[in-house]
């Protein structure tokens, strides 16, 4: 099969072009010579099936960033028939440098000048025929977003493929070439005509407000808050809807079907397997919505502005402004926030950000804290207790960044483009949300299911014991662990609840009800008599800091592709949780005595 490699700089609309070219029949594939997955699709071009591979956006063929190496290795190890290069017509003065480097590869090429509409608005003119002659490749102006010029581009790809043969790249093109600089200067002067003084564009005017030295940050925090509200105002009813459907299916279909089987099998299938499936599905609405809204922030160009605003502070922690956006997103749900770190190119920066996100007090943990604070504290103190947990959440994140910034160094200098503001297209956002959701189910789903079943087994075996009681495996483990948890004021029953909390924080309150043999209404009273405020606060500190949930771990693995890192992301929060709870409990009990 013939193969087209799609190339270009970041922010050129390359992915939009890819989506338009391939529809939604994409898959994620592994390729010889490289470790990351690339998106590819098979499409019918003319009368032939052709494979299109979307390579990462790069600035330079000679650079040392991860993406640049991926592109180089791909082209060294995989034969391609044609390079389809996408360039931003509005920035051709610098984008042509990549085009010239790619020409050196010695492969047939079609150059697409995207965002012609934007270039025209800026008063930039490109002499297409002159450029075609100078480069010796077909040049096609288009707007991938709105579709103008797209049919022409498609037929040109088809034409260029005819009679072509697949080849690997000429490796000498990968070494730096000083000559290129002069060629570039000359070429730009000949074919690109830029107005001498650009009229104050809309972007400049928006920037004056959004990047204002005093107003910028409050506006950014406010828009993050609104975004967040939007995700959860729409998402929570959807999540409840999914839960309702799952409950209905359980009641109407599965329970009757299992009526004749033994209680152990029923419990295994319903509380183990079915709950596991439910855990996976309940995340889907939030993931889709999160990426819809994230798409707005990212495609509009606001994300790099956020980096600009927050960098002075986050830079000192070894992070950058984008880490802060993801950390804030984590206060809704850690899972999509972890997936969102993919915009970061430096692996060290990305892993460090992934390490701090789980400390964000997510909505699931909030449920536990609201329940416990109202049960144990007076209505007047409860809000302050809750607020202190939010402060603790930031403290744990920033402390972690400070401790690990040397081990996970941010290798890339912050040298980002601030692209003009753009309106994102709904089609592309939906495509992205759908893609992320299916990715989550496929990669993280099995792992989550397995974990839920494992915890079910621990809390139900031996089957004649009371579920989640002290005689189960979980109870025995809690017994062994009691020397560790007793100094934190967490007794055996409470530590079984922590084991449940490993699956998902939403189930902690339910688990406590099962453990104390009470319904959830009466539970508050029982907790209030069992726990002092010091016990309760120590327990909440532990719940806040230790591993948030199985789904977070599964995504940690999915995104980092490293078991070592995933192990660190479990072990470090556990250690920190223990240290913080221990310090608090010991100091508080001494002071209270």
């Amino acid at each position: 099969m013939k193969r087209i490699a799609l190339l270009g700089m970041p922010n050129t609309g390359k992915s939009t072009f890819f989506n338009r070219l391939t529809g939604s029949v994409t898959r994620v594939g592994n390729w010889p010579g490289i470790t990351v997955e690339l998106l590819d699709a098979r499409i019918l071009l003319g009368t032939e099936m052709v494979e299109v591979v979307d390579l990462p956006g790069i600035y330079n063929l000679h650079g040392y960033s991860e993406d640049e190496q991926v592109v180089r290795r791909f082209l060294e190890h995989n034969a391609v028939n044609l390079l389809a290069v996408v360039a931003n017509a509005a920035q051709l003065d610098r984008q042509l440098s990549l085009v010239l480097q790619l020409k050196e590869l010695g492969l047939p090429m079609v150059l697409m000048l995207n965002m012609m509409d934007e270039a025209k608005r800026l008063g930039i003119e490109v002499e297409q025929e002159k450029l075609e002659k100078a480069l010796g490749v077909p040049v096609i102006p288009l707007s991938a977003k709105h579709g103008q010029g797209f049919p022409w581009a498609k037929s040109m790809l088809e034409k260029s493929l005819q009679g072509s043969e697949a080849r690997t790249a000429n490796p000498s093109a990968f070494t730096h070439d000083e000559e290129l600089e002069h060629t570039l200067e000359k070429l730009v002067n000949e074919v690109v005509h830029t107005p001498i003084q650009l009229a104050p564009t809309l972007t400049c005017r928006i920037d004056r407000t959004l990047l204002h030295s005093w107003l910028g940050l409050p506006i950014f925090l406010l828009s993050m808050y609104l975004l967040f509200e939007a995700v959860y105002t729409v998402g929570t009813p959807l999540q409840n809807g999914v839960a309702w459907l799952l409950g209905l299916a359980k009641q109407q279909l599965i329970e009757p079907a299992l009526a004749g089987t033994s209680p152990v099998i029923q419990s295994f299938l319903l509380e183990g397997v079915y709950n596991g499936v439910g855990t996976v599905l309940s995340f889907l609405p939030i993931i889709v919505l999160f990426f819809l809204f994230m798409g707005v922030v990212e495609d509009s160009g606001y994300l790099s502005r956020a980096a600009f605003l927050m960098d002075a502070f986050m830079g000192r922690l070894g992070l950058d402004g984008r880490s802060f956006v993801m950390q804030l997103m984590g206060f809704g749900c850690n899972v999509p926030a972890l997936m969102g770190t993919r915009v970061m190119r430096s692996r060290g920066l990305r892993l460090l950000t992934m390490l701090i996100i789980p400390f964000s007090l997510c909505s699931a943990r909030l449920q536990v804290f609201v329940f416990l604070t109202t049960a144990v504290f007076s209505p007047r103190t409860a809000p302050f207790v809750l607020f202190s947990l939010y402060v603790m959440s930031f403290f744990a994140a920033f402390l972690t960044a400070l401790l690990y910034r040397r081990r996970l160094p941010n290798s890339e200098p912050l040298l980002l483009e601030l692209p003009p503001y753009r309106l994102p297209t709904p089609r592309q956002m939906l495509h992205r949300g759908w893609h992320e959701a299916t990715h989550f189910v496929r990669d993280a789903g099995g792992f989550i299911l397995l974990g839920v079943v494992a915890v079910w087994f621990l809390t139900h075996y031996p089957f004649n014991a009371q579920p989640a009681g002290v005689d189960t495996l979980a109870g025995q483990i809690a017994g062994w662990m009691s020397p560790l948890f007793a100094p934190l004021g967490i007794d055996n029953l409470m530590s079984i609840a922590l084991l449940f909390g490993f699956v998902a924080k939403e189930v902690v309150v339910g688990a406590l009800a099962v453990i104390y043999g009470a319904n959830q209404g009466a539970l508050a009273g029982i907790i209030a008599t069992h726990l002092t405020w010091i016990d309760a606060y120590s327990f909440m500190l532990f719940v806040l800091i230790y591993t948030p949930c199985l789904s977070t771990i599964a995504v940690m693995k999915q995104e980092s592709k490293s078991w070592m890192f995933t192990a660190l992301a479990i072990a470090w929060p556990l250690t920190l949780a223990w240290l913080v709870s221990f310090t608090f409990y010991q100091v508080a009990t001494r002071l209270a005595a």
């Binding site: 700089m9 600035y59 330079n60 000679h62 650079g63 040392y64 960033s65 509005a90 920035q91 003065d93 610098r94 440098s97 990549l98 800026l122 930039i124 730096h176 600089e181 200067e185 830029t194 003084q197 650009l198 009229a199 104050p200 564009t201 972007t203 400049c204 005017r205 920037d207 004056r208 990047l211 030295s213 790099s304 980096a307 600009f308 605003l309 960098d311 002075a312 502070f313 830079g315 200098p413 912050l414 040298l415 980002l416 483009e417 601030l418 692209p419 003009p420």
Partner: protein
């Protein structure tokens, strides 16, 4: 003089780039190269990054990187730069 010292709203021509090979390659790819005119649009507070403009492209970079960009004698104090302030 380096780019870090160029006041907001002023323009100057780049004389040379310092720093290691990979950083210079990246700067080059983003349009930062000797002979081109660069303007400082704004600076983030508290030692934060700079927003600069080259041709029609806006970039942000940290002050530590801006220090690596040497400028020719400042061209002119320019008050027509559209987004100054």
């Amino acid at each position: 003089m380096t780019l870090e010292q160029l006041p907001v709203g002023h323009k100057a021509r780049i004389a040379s780039l310092e720093g290691d090979e990979s950083l210079r390659a990246r700067m080059f790819a983003l349009g930062l190269r000797a002979g081109r005119e660069v303007a400082v649009i704004r600076r983030a507070r508290l030692g934060g990054p700079l927003q600069i403009r080259i041709g029609s492209t806006d970039l942000m970079l940290r002050r530590s990187e801006a220090r690596l960009i040497r400028l020719e004698q400042e061209a002119k104090g320019d008050h027509t730069t559209s987004a100054a302030g």
